[in-house]
């Protein structure tokens, strides 16, 4: 039996105090690859039923929230889950989260989980082992793209960042107000709420045939909202990065305060179609709603945006055809230096870079493993992380080149209005401005919009430089994707998008919301 003393070491709350030393091992709250494999092997030996594969997922996170320096919420997550699967019958199908700290308690947790399944899984029910079974090949060792998603700075920050950073941000807010750095001293004061979120995650897919998929990642996100006391002006800013050292809380506060002050005195503008300059945060909120439409099965029955209707040659998909502006390319890349994600399916099957759109042409759709094997295409995860590139125009340049339009900082409450074709509706928020004669003229009240990215991306006037965007709160929605639900849990997987200048964006009506 493997030594599982590392479980207790990882779980001990006192050992993660960075003040005890900068040793990355001391501050690490989640398992290492070696520890996870040792745990999987120990768990396999403890089961009385042949287990085909074991998945180990551990997620540690700290989310802290401050509201006007008076109310503070902190949520600590530390979940270790083991999932057992076997070929027998309908499968083991057990996910067990446990505060297991030693071999004895692990054995007890496994036994209590498998006992319930015992009537369904008798060894004599197991089918004879067949060396020619493709399943055996499937579980052999695989090659995975090398990734680098872990940063010790973020792991350390999990214990210190919340209190320190939030207090620092509150202090920045005071400085901006009292010293008038943003010319706010003559204006009514603002309220502020901020959220700091830090996480670490590991995943091991461990197969009896030798396939071992391993991934470890850290992530962090800081958001802030400043709002006038009369509730008529609001500003937001956020930043997300896997490396906590790259987060700049002062800049986030400064931007939120600046935006809130700049939206004071908003006036109404008649709804309609305008040239829109969308900030990266706004673009990201639209792009994330597109993911499920890249799945091949959503387009097969001529119901999806990439399907052809009444195609004479019998082909129903628009693969190889130009579907967007030729400047647009969209891809998902596990080792994307601006984000990245685990290079395998939730069950461990490798997933390489996927090029979805290349210079406006649809190059690939997502096929699962079985489909891919059947038709000879590479299996690809449905995108749940997207990089969109294609331009270098700055937001200032977009504004200068706009005679009359609307600048949108971000959207809120984005939901499907026409699910079949990704018709989206929502509202603008935290910064909406009239552009006139190449300049920001004044703030305007918020709009409701109705648009589809699949239409919008054919009305591109300019594309900027992509950046990874923060989201903060994401309202739960009917998910269009079928990837592992945990991948859609907070924090949101990386979305790297540019600002866009869009012709005839549909601001369908006025919104009373601020």
């Amino acid at each position: 039996m493997n030594d599982l003393s590392f479980l207790a070491r990882r779980a001990d709350p006192s050992r993660t105090d960075p003040s005890q030393g900068a040793d990355s091992d001391r501050t690490r709250r989640v398992l290492t690859r070696e520890e996870a494999i040792a745990l999987a092997e120990s768990a396999r030996q403890m089961t009385s039923i042949p287990v085909d594969w074991i998945i180990i997922v551990q997620r540690a996170a700290a989310v802290a929230k401050i509201v006007n320096s008076q109310r503070f919420h902190c949520i600590d997550l530390d979940e270790l889950r083991l999932e057992f699967n076997t070929k027998l019958g309908s499968g083991f199908g057990v996910l067990v989260g446990t505060n297991v700290r030693d071999a004895a308690t692990l054995r007890r947790a496994i036994h209590s989980a498998e006992t319930a399944k015992a009537p369904q899984m008798r060894v004599e029910d197991q089918e004879p082992d067949d060396a020619d079974d493709p399943h055996h090949q499937w579980t052999k060792p695989k090659h995975y793209l090398p990734i680098s998603l872990w940063h010790d700075s973020t792991a350390r920050a999990m214990e210190t960042a919340r209190g320190e950073t939030l207090a620092h941000m509150a202090s920045c807010m005071q400085t901006l107000q009292t010293l008038g750095e943003s010319n706010t001293s003559s204006l009514p004061p603002l309220t502020m709420a901020a959220t700091v979120a830090v996480s670490a995650r590991v995943r091991l897919c461990h197969y009896a045939g030798g396939m071992n998929a391993w991934g470890e990642a850290t992530d962090s996100e800081v958001t802030a909202n400043a709002r006038t006391l009369d509730g008529k002006a609001s500003g937001w800013s956020g930043q997300t990065h896997r490396d906590w050292g790259q987060i700049d809380p002062e800049r986030i506060v400064r931007e939120a305060v600046t935006m809130a002050n700049r939206t004071r005195g908003a006036v109404r503008l008649e709804p309609g179609r305008y040239t829109a300059v969308l900030g990266p945060a706004a673009v990201g909120q639209l792009v994330r709603m597109m993911y499920g439409y890249f799945a091949v099965f959503r387009n097969r029955d001529m119901l999806g945006p990439f399907s052809l209707v009444n195609a004479p040659d019998g082909k129903k998909l628009r693969l190889g055809q130009r579907v967007f502006d030729e400047r647009i390319s969209m891809w998902s890349e596990p080792n994307d230096p601006m984000g990245g994600y685990f290079p395998f399916f939730p069950d461990g099957w490798p997933s390489d870079k996927a090029l979805w759109i290349e210079h406006g042409v649809l190059r690939n759709l997502a096929y699962n493993e079985e489909e891919a094997l059947h038709i000879g295409r590479p299996a690809t995860l449905e995108p749940w992380s997207m990089h969109m590139g294609g331009g270098t125009t700055t937001i200032d340049e977009m504004i200068r080149n706009c005679d009359r339009g609307v600048y949108v900082h971000r959207f809120g409450s984005v939901q499907y209005a026409n699910p079949r074709l990704c018709g989206l509706s929502g509202t603008t928020r935290d910064g909406c401005f009239l552009i006139k004669d190449g300049k920001i003229a004044h703030p305007i009240t918020n709009f409701r919009f109705f648009e589809s990215p699949f239409l919008m991306f054919n009305r591109i006037l300019a594309i900027g430089v992509p950046e990874r965007v923060a989201f903060g709160y994401l309202r739960p929605q009917w998910s269009m994707t079928l990837t592992s639900p945990e991948e859609h849990q907070w924090p949101a997987p990386p979305i790297i998008v540019p600002p866009l200048m869009i012709r005839d964006f549909n601001f369908s009506s006025l919104s009373d919301a601020v």
């Binding site: 109310r71 919420h73 996910l95 947790a109 004061p189 309220t191 026409n418 409701r448 919301a513």
Partner: protein
């Protein structure tokens, strides 16, 4: 089918023996005694339960942690917090099982064993939640919360806190930096168990599926273009303990039943193309009078579902047409109107949201500031909305997660907001208003979290919109005077970040011309401003139009969802806005 009476089957495995713990607060004793029995627990998990299994559902997971263990753990945490300097501390500890089953699929048993700890120092609160309630982790969490709250209390003079310009007439900052934030938390002790006749967890999965199949069997005998498209039941049982530094200690054996029966109508228009044929009505629920397994047995539920199917048949016969944008008169069925209330008014009434707690996440409120809203006739005088405690299946508890007893109370009376959704931290804000109305500052008892580790919110379990006695008894009766309007059935409203407006998506829009339903409309959407919509209500339907639906109050990061039910009548609004969601991709 055999169904056992109210029993809770013991786990087949032997469990570690447990001592009877004395009511003492020694941390060392707690650690040494509980370390063995609290560790190795399944803290969060999902177990696939085979649908044909004949042993009780409860046998697929370890039994619930004993209440005394939870109480001792809770005292450990509270003692640690107070010894570290907290002026007030409370904790919720819960071990929950949720069994979800739907017809034709294996069931899923979800386990959650967690804690939520709250401390207060000098007007600053800190909350820490997690799913690893061992003594060591609880002590560490308590100390961490105190350190954080103390540090933040020192910065409470920063912008947004108590000190701001007193001559700013537009300032609506409410001072919450008082030391009596939790002065109104009652001291309660006791135990309570949800009254049920048949414990769903003592029933086998096979019996659960049999019961659901009996409901789905309606399809075999029903003749018409309507079917039961899906059945989903989630049963929940939980031992939850609440302990506070003020001396409260309550233990509850909670039970919840969340039924969902999807009905699908099929358009009889032969010209309907793909996507236009289906007429889903999945938002309406049939709330149980009880949360025990007896709910799915017997005829009353089947009769209600059957009647709903019968009622849907005539609506499938209308020809299909494209929605034409423009101003329209509107009739909402009870399901749609209930969700409008649930998606806009109730989030906006959450006082912590009014005060800015969610401004960087889910949003704020259009019903702000309280002093400008309370008592003002913002909505139609016929609109009356209340929070109710009986007759629904969510949040049945003797005490909420602050130890308060839930009560019925109005939130909108004769078109005016008369109350907000509060917890003990926000209740003092209502002091002047309550005094003016001769009311005592009494907690509402609606502070709750889905699981013990979740951040609790002021979230009512059930809401009621009053119907008009002897009012119009049907949608067609409400639409009789419409010249050019739309009936919205089973609409799905979504509100904006303030609840100030939203849009309603529905596959079941029906055009009305001169009081006669002419077509079913596709690719239509209703956009609305909440104030305009609710102010413009002309007629509220009678009791026969009452329907119950469900929605969730969402907030926070990570997002938490707390479900609630809304029972509402149909309404007629003379002035609405129909838009189109048609898209054409080249």
């Amino acid at each position: 089918m055999t169904v056992r009476p109210n029993t809770y089957s013991p786990m087949l495995l032997s469990r570690p023996s447990r001592r009877t713990f004395l009511t003492q607060s020694s941390l060392a004793v707690a650690s040494s005694v509980l370390g063995r029995s609290a560790a190795g627990m399944i803290t969060r998990g999902s177990i696939i339960v085979p649908s044909r299994a004949t042993q009780p559902v409860a046998s697929f997971a370890p039994p619930l942690v004993e209440p005394e263990t939870l109480r001792t753990l809770a005292r450990t945490a509270i003692d640690a917090a107070t010894q570290a300097g907290a002026q007030y501390a409370d904790i919720r500890l819960g071990d929950q099982r949720a069994f979800r089953c739907n017809s034709g699929f294996n069931g899923v048993l979800t386990l959650t064993y967690g804690y939520g700890l709250r401390v207060e120092i000098d007007g600053t609160t800190a909350f820490i939640g997690g799913t690893d309630p061992t003594p060591e982790r609880l002590i560490a969490a308590a100390r961490s919360a105190v350190v954080t709250a103390r540090g933040l209390a020192k910065t409470s003079h920063i912008v947004g806190g108590a000190a701001h310009s007193s001559d700013d007439s537009n300032a609506h900052r409410v001072d919450r930096s008082t030391s009596d934030l939790f002065a109104h938390v009652p001291v309660v002790t006791g135990e309570w168990r949800a009254p049920i006749a048949i414990d769903p967890f003592s029933v086998s999965p096979d019996d659960h599926m049999y019961a659901l199949a009996g409901i789905g069997g309606i399809n075999d005998v029903f003749r018409g273009p309507v079917e039961v498209s899906g059945i989903d039941m989630t049963w929940t049982t939980e031992t939850r303990v609440f302990v506070s530094s003020a001396g409260s200690m309550v233990t509850q054996q909670l039970a919840m039943a969340c039924p969902w029966f999807g009905l699908m109508g099929f358009s009889q228009d032969p010209s309907a193309v793909a996507g236009e044929t289906y007429m889903p009505e999945g938002l309406r629920i049939f709330p149980p009078a009880t949360v025990g397994f007896e709910y799915v047995l017997g005829m009353p539920l089947r009769e209600r579902i059957h009647q709903a199917m019968v009622d849907l048949v005539p609506w499938t016969a209308y020809p299909i047409g494209q929605a034409e944008v423009g101003r329209k008169e509107l009739v909402f069925d009870g399901t749609t109107f209930g969700r409008v209330i649930g998606e806009t008014v109730f989030p906006a009434l959450a006082l912590n949201r009014v005060l800015g707690d969610e401004q960087d996440v889910s949003g704020t409120s259009f019903l702000a500031p309280p002093e400008a809203v309370l008592g003002q006739p913002l909505f139609a005088p016929s609109l009356n909305v209340s929070v109710v405690t009986g007759g629904t299946h969510f949040a049945r508890m003797q005490w909420d997660d602050e130890g308060s007893t839930p009560r019925d109370f109005p939130v909108i009376a004769r078109g005016a907001v008369v109350d907000y959704l509060t917890d003990h931290a926000t209740l003092p804000v209502m002091r002047d208003w309550y005094t003016k109305r001769g009311q005592s500052l009494q907690p509402q008892g609606i502070f709750r979290a889905n699981t013990a580790d979740g951040v609790p919110r002021a979230a009512p379990g059930a809401c009621l919109v009053e119907s008009t006695p002897n009012g119009p008894a049907s949608l067609t009766e409400l639409a009789r005077t419409m010249k050019d309007g739309v009936i919205v059935r089973s609409g799905y409203p979504l509100g904006d970040q303030q609840g100030a407006g939203g849009w309603i998506n529905s596959a079941n829009l029906f055009e009305v011309r001169k009081g006669v339903i002419t077509r079913r409309l596709v690719h239509g959407n209703i956009e609305f401003s909440t104030k305009s919509l609710l102010k413009g209500i002309k007629t509220i339907g009678g009791p026969e139009t009452m329907e119950t639906t469900t929605n969730a109050l969402t907030s926070g990061v990570p997002v938490t969802e707390i479900p609630q039910t809304v029972t509402a009548p149909a309404v007629y609004v003379p002035n609405g806005n129909l838009t189109s969601t048609a898209l054409h991709l080249s």
